[in-house]
């Protein structure tokens, strides 16, 4: 990938992340930490790409490990965040 282009993506993504969190109420900090934890679970896609290219047993083993860990990050992060957020509700009238 073009290095300069990547730098622009880095900058804009960092700004986006900062802006989204800056206005968040304290009551959501835990679910949000957990939710952002889920989002970096997309690392599983990267892990699948390297496993998909692996052609020696060592590479396959490490790639397998990477996919399993990434999948756990994504699945676990989703479940715990969804469970926490499902409990947030307004006073019923």
């Amino acid at each position: 990938m073009d290095g300069m282009l990547a730098l622009y993506i880095f900058m804009l993504a960092a700004f986006t992340g900062y802006e989204i969190i800056a206005k968040v109420p304290v009551i959501l900090h835990t679910p949000l930490m957990s939710g952002s934890n889920f989002i970096h679970g997309v690392v599983v896609v990267g892990a699948m790409i390297v496993l998909g290219q692996a052609d020696t047993p060592v590479q396959q083993a490490i790639g397998f490990f990477a996919v399993a860990l990434g999948a756990a990050n994504a699945a676990g992060g989703y479940v715990v965040t969804e469970r926490m957020l499902a409990m947030f509700k307004k006073k019923e009238d």
Binding site: A13, A14, A22, V26, P31, H40, V42, Q59, A71, A72
Partner: protein
Amino acid sequence: MTMPIYVQGAWFAGALLFIFGLKGMSSPASARRGIIIAGYGMLVAIAATFLIPGLQNIGLMALALVIGGASAWISGQKVKMTDMPQMVAIYNGMGGGAAAAIAAVEFARGDAHAVMTTVLAVVGALIGAVSFTGSCVAWAKLQGVLKKAYRLPAQNAVNVVLALLSVALGVAMIIMGPSRPELVLAFFFVALFLGLIVTLPIGGADMPVVISLFNAFTGLAVGFEGYVLGNPALIIAGIVVGAAGTLLTQLMAKAMNRPISNILFTPMLASSEGGAAIEGTMKELGALDAAAMMRYASKVIIVPGYGMAVAHAQHKVWEMTSILEEAGVEVKFAIHPVAGRMPGHMNVLLAEAGVPYDKIFDLEEINGEFAQADVALIIGANDVVNPTARTDKSSPIYGMPILNADQAQNVIVIKRGKGTGYSGVENALFYTDNCRMLYGNAQPMAGEIIQHLKAMG
């Protein structure tokens, strides 16, 4: 490798859904929709990856997805809300481990890489590996598997040497090319060891900040490996989380009045090492009197702490609150930013008990209201209401923002025993004239108060 347009498009859609989802999560009303949107983003991104032409090891890949995904899904369904922080820590560590492993495969392939690519692969591998072992230690500590804080002699020097060594090995890999297996192995070994050694001496009270920091680390590692793989979706998701996590870490550290460097490099002072002696006595009170004081008050502010959660008293406390409200008493909950084991953890625990979020107020919102409250009821909280943090410069918690519970007309403290809080500091509030102690386990004690309140009608 060039990706077909439908794979690229699906990844783009995934990144878009992540950002919309995160945006949704920033307000309580739309938060649940937010995580579901982000969840769809993940499914789209994973499904599209299977469509890459010429993909090998698909069976192995599916197996790894099922093993990792299913085990985490099941454990995530079972975990109790009080244990949530360590669960987030361990899932986060796995993400860091995955990012480091991606780099390891890239190194093992030994493709001719541009310098920039190798640099980011090495940096991503380093912080991913540190986040992996560090998060595992954080999990072990909060889970109670590791009880003590292990502190090496010259801990800071060891940290610095290990950090420099890992950087030196990384630089060597960049210069000589990452194709030398012994160099790569040494690099990963040192990086993993570094995460372990840095996290071991950190006390449980500081762990939330550390987990948040590692969350940001994993995000950055994922973003950097995304560059190595030429995948913008990974870059965007990783860097957004890296930036968000960094800000969140700063907010938390600020709430504790502990700079991040302090948390990493200096442990909290042990109990006897600071703070002036406190004069006076603690005065006891019975559940009946406590019930009467609150029943005939016009405004009660409840300050819950982790002690309440440990005693599983939140449901009883909410029941008590409902009875008081029916009797015309205004009841609010005041939450310190570091109540619980993660910022906002207490809100989750109260939400679990059914407390609506519009009754829950944070420190800045409610601190001015304590002076108008007839009763401040403190349940299993200690350091966060200790007025010595405002006045006593020799106290280890001096300068930490606290809830001004001492300004209420009356203060009732439900507490198991006479011990000190997490920081080990004596609490001057307990000795003041308007403070009464209600000794006992929070759950049966709240139950007793409820009985008395019901009897009063």
